[in-house]
């Protein structure tokens, strides 16, 4: 294997890995860095289970090469909690029973966080379109949308104080 050596930042920590040039960032995160919170549902960008941020932008890790991560900042669900505290979205997903099987949950959380950072006070429609890249087969999305609304409200209050 003609491996490429990549230095990058994952969830704020400096990380180095070697991978084949054709390997996806999803496979790197899961198999080389043991960040299995990033899920693979399709591998073709159609389900959003592998949602991560790359330099702050929401992307599907399956559609990024590991080699592209050189010098970038990668954010995964494992980095959502800060200082031992769950992110308000994480709390509200539990409180609102917004997960059943939970396989789509990490992707939804990362996508919802990106959505609320861009738009702290989204309408229901904006939430629904903003999360349309994340498939959930269990919930019918009802409680997911409600959890995001609840978290948005809490986060707006937090911002004011």
């Amino acid at each position: 294997m003609n491996g490429v050596t990549v230095s990058t930042t994952v969830n704020g920590d400096a990380v180095q890995f070697v991978c084949p040039p054709s390997e996806s960032l999803l496979d790197v995160l899961r198999n080389r860095l043991n960040l299995t919170g990033v899920k693979e549902g399709c591998g073709t960008g159609d389900c959003g289970a592998c949602s991560i941020t790359l330099d702050g932008r929401l992307v599907c890790a399956c559609l990024v090469l590991g080699a592209e991560a050189e010098g970038r900042e990668v954010g995964t669900v494992e980095g959502m909690s800060e200082n031992g505290e769950l992110h308000p979205l994480q709390v509200q997903f539990i409180e609102n029973a917004a997960l059943q099987c939970g396989i789509c949950t990490p992707g939804f959380l990362v996508a919802a966080k990106a959505l609320l950072e861009r738009n702290p006070n989204p309408t229901e429609e904006e939430i629904r379109y903003g999360l349309a890249g994340n498939l959930c087969r269990c919930t019918g999305y009802d409680k997911i949308v409600r959890a995001v609304q609840a978290a948005a409200k809490i986060m707006r209050k937090g911002r004011k104080s």
Binding site: I94, L131, D142, K143
Partner: protein, 753 residues
């Protein structure tokens, strides 16, 4: 000691509350381990080579080049699976589905598999395997497969359920008939008879987590399997049978499961992974791609259904018949039988007959999908119910109320109903504010009813009390959607302790007795029942320890509010002993305190739902938007209302996808054209509105708390409810699911002439 299963109208402290699930933090932080999330030292990666043909003889498989590729450690084909089934045909079908034996029966059928040091090497090896096929004629449509001269899928199949027994091969694997009365006489009494033919296309459960396992099988025939499954005990039994292993030597652990909906009740690649592991004597990880999931695992039947119902002018149904043709893929199933059993289960009918035909085609082996077979039958029946109501000039809800089954009704599939919820759900529809919402231009409202049997089955649980009084509950049903929370609530309720004092674990196959698969909406019903009994069993022990501590006879001790209390004046000086106190003393009073229960949880209460939906159809494009959706269902008793609502909403959403867009599309070559989430269109967030729910609680007489399963019924009405709503919106009867934009536009234009 058997415990009393009958419903008692007890009060609850915890049951019915909306507590946070105990596995919530694991699942929002990414820590929870699903099928593909574990690895083993020295593990190999397996990949499967699949048939590109719908039907073909496999003349030769040359693996020699692949075997020479550095890094390839094992290759298996059908020849590597000797027949251990002892003539059990259905077991052989499962094995043949896992790995073709001389013939590829559908596009995607496994023909060989490789285990190599990494995925890249395994992929390369697959390309080096040379398979020589001879293409055979194929058939993928259910009606075409029944027609004269259709290619025969299996020459050994003789139609079962027909007298006299046929002597020639047929694609109809089984005929099943249900009903009672005299339907001919019934139709003769009818003032109006409506008859219509319906088609539904094949859909997939669409769980987001692909099938995945990590298998280890040694030369001594003992092994371990980590797998995403709805039934690890069943997987253990099936894999042991197929591979000739002792059941006790194969330990199967269920991972967290990323959705199943019936599709993870069946083995697909697990025996292959185990066999590769045995051959290489190393752990083997096998994860299906999404393409493989669609092509080679779990879809439900496509169907073709005729429904005929006759009624008097006063709205009383005099007779009803249905002929249901369900394809079961390349192997026989029981899917048409379920369709025939469920078709008319909502109604009180004097004369009723339903006949199902289970049909073989060159498609993947059909698996259970949430209330398997019922949604398609309900699409036909509930559409004709609406058509008949219209012909009678009656309101569609009133017409159904008039004919609804009730306590004492003889169900069309045989049994006499106890207390049931169909009437109350219909009444709730009638009274619901949704019914009063005004409809605009191009909008239509529809409703439909649905039924599912529910299942109980073999269940075994353990409840262990720690020295600090906290409790471990170990169950053998898989947590597919929050059942840990419900079971912890039940254990805490029984013991009289706090909810968060209970931790629920899904036990592996070596830690509990057999548990049937988590299917038939049985998780909370049956493990709930076994948890109640295991807790009561533990309470017996707690009472004995208290009695011993006090030195009084145990019959003077009662368990109330989480503590042992000594009854009677003579004991009034004895202060109560809490669970915590008894647990703390347990090392000195007889050792660990545990409760245990094994039960065949009979009497799963039947479940009924009525759904109400408003849609808007764009008459120029045929596009349908769901505006409002209301689910009303009988839960018996909602242990955790959040997760009951979740089941209602999830089933409705799957039904909406099925009704409008989801379908397997086969080309003329018999190959699946849309094996991915881009073109197999499950609903996305922006496709749906909030889904309103109303939980009715008509206690199941056969469960101490009155619980009925809730997971499946919610997918039964949507096809018909949306069909009725769209038909009302566009003024044309829709009879083909999914009602995709091209089909709706064509129907509108055909009707316009």
């Amino acid at each position: 000691m058997p415990y009393e299963t009958a419903y008692t109208n007890q009060g609850f402290n915890l049951v019915g509350s909306r507590v946070n699930r105990p596995d919530g933090i694991d699942k929002v932080t990414g820590r929870a381990k699903y099928g593909a999330d574990v690895n083993a030292a020295g593990q190999l990666v397996a990949k499967v080579l699949r048939s590109p043909h719908a039907h073909a003889l496999i003349k030769k498989i040359d693996t020699s080049k692949a075997a020479k590729l550095p890094g390839v450690k094992a290759i298996v084909t059908g020849d590597d699976f000797p027949d251990h089934t002892g003539g059990n045909r259905s077991m052989m079908d499962i094995l043949e589905n896992c790995m073709a034996r001389g013939r590829a029966l559908y596009d995607g059928h496994a023909v060989a598999a490789v285990a190599a040091i990494d995925g890249e090497t395994a992929d390369k090896a697959l390309k080096l395997i040379k398979v020589t096929y001879k293409k055979l004629p194929h058939v993928t449509d259910v009606d075409a497969a029944m027609a004269e001269g259709a290619p025969i899928i299996h020459d050994w199949v003789r139609t079962a359920g027909v007298q006299p027994a046929p002597t020639t091969a047929s694609n109809v694997a089984q005929r099943s008939e249900f009903g009672h009365g005299d339907v001919e006489a019934g139709f003769a009494q009818a003032d109006i008879v409506v008859e219509k033919t319906f088609k539904t296309e094949q859909t997939h459960q669409g769980y987001i987590e692909p099938h995945a396992c990590l298998a280890q099988l040694g030369p001594d025939g003992s092994g371990e399997l980590w797998v995403t499954t709805q039934g690890h005990f069943t997987f253990r039994n099936v894999c042991s049978t197929l591979l000739g292993l002792d059941v006790a030597k194969l330990k199967v652990t269920s991972s967290e499961i990323g959705g199943g909906f019936g599709g993870k009740t069946h083995v697909w690649t697990e025996p292959v992974a185990l066999q590769l592991s045995r051959k290489a004597n190393r752990p083997v990880k096998l994860v299906m791609t999404r393409d493989e999931v669609f092509r080679a695992s779990g879809p439900t039947s496509s169907t073709s259904i005729d429904v005929k119902i006759g009624a008097k002018k006063n709205g009383r149904i005099t007779a009803a018949t249905a002929e249901l043709r369900y394809q079961s893929g390349a192997f026989p199933g029981m899917w048409a039988m379920f369709g025939a059993m469920t078709s008319f289960a909502c109604y009180d009918l004097k004369n009723v007959k339903s006949v199902g035909y289970d049909v073989l085609v060159n498609r993947p082996k059909v698996a259970a999908y949430r209330a398997p077979s019922a949604p398609m039958a309900a699409f036909g029946v509930e559409s004709v119910m609406d058509m008949l109501a219209a012909e009678l000039g009656m309101d569609a809800v009133e017409f159904r109320i008039k004919n609804a089954a009730k306590k004492g009704t003889k169900a069309s599939y045989g049994p006499i109903y106890g207390p049931i919820g169909i009437g109350p759900t219909l009444q709730a529809v009638k009274d619901h504010p949704h019914m009063k919402r005004r409809l605009g231009k191009n909008q239509g409202r529809g409703m439909a009813c649905g039924f599912w049997f529910n299942f109980g089955g073999q269940t075994c649980t353990d409840l262990n009390i720690g020295v600090d009084g906290s409790v471990n509950l170990t169950v053998g049903t898989v947590d597919v959607g929050g059942s840990r929370a419900s079971l912890a609530l039940i254990a805490a309720e029984e013991l009289g302790i706090d909810y968060d004092q209970v931790r629920v674990t899904i036990g592996d196959t070596n830690s509990l007795g057999h548990n049937d698969t988590t299917e038939g909406s049985r998780g909370t019903f049956s493990s709930g029942m076994a948890t109640i009994f295991a807790a009561r069993n533990a309470i017996e022990v707690l009472k004995q320890r208290a009695a011993a501590t006090w030195d009084i006879p145990v019959d003077q001790v009662v368990w109330e509010a989480g503590e042992a209390r000594a009854k009677g004046k003579q004991n009034s000086n004895l202060p109560p002993l809490t669970l915590k106190e008894i647990a703390a003393k347990s090392p000195r009073t007889g050792g660990p305190i545990a409760g245990h229960n094994e039960v065949v949880a009979d009497g799963a209460g039947v479940s009924f739902a009525s759904h109400l939906v408003d849609v808007e159809v764009d008459p120029e494009t045929g596009s349908t938007r769901v505006l409002r959706y209301t689910v009303i269902q009988d839960a018996g008793k909602a242990i955790h209302p959040d997760y009951v609502e979740g089941q209602f909403q999830g089933g409705a959403a799957q039904g909406i996808g099925w009704a409008l867009n989801e379908e397997y599309i086969y080309g003329d070559d018999g190959c699946l054209q849309n094996p991915g989430f881009l073109d197999y269109r499950i609903p996305v967030c922006s496709d749906l509105p909030f889904i309103d729910t109303q939980i009715l609680e008509i206690p199941n007489p056969n469960h101490p708390y009155g619980v009925r399963g809730v997971g499946e019924t919610s997918i039964v009405p949507p096809l018909a409810a949306i069909g009725n709503a769209v038909s009302n919106a566009v003024g044309v009867r829709m009879n083909h699911v999914p009602m995709s934009p091209p089909r709706i536009l064509k129907a509108i234009e055909d009707a316009a002439g």
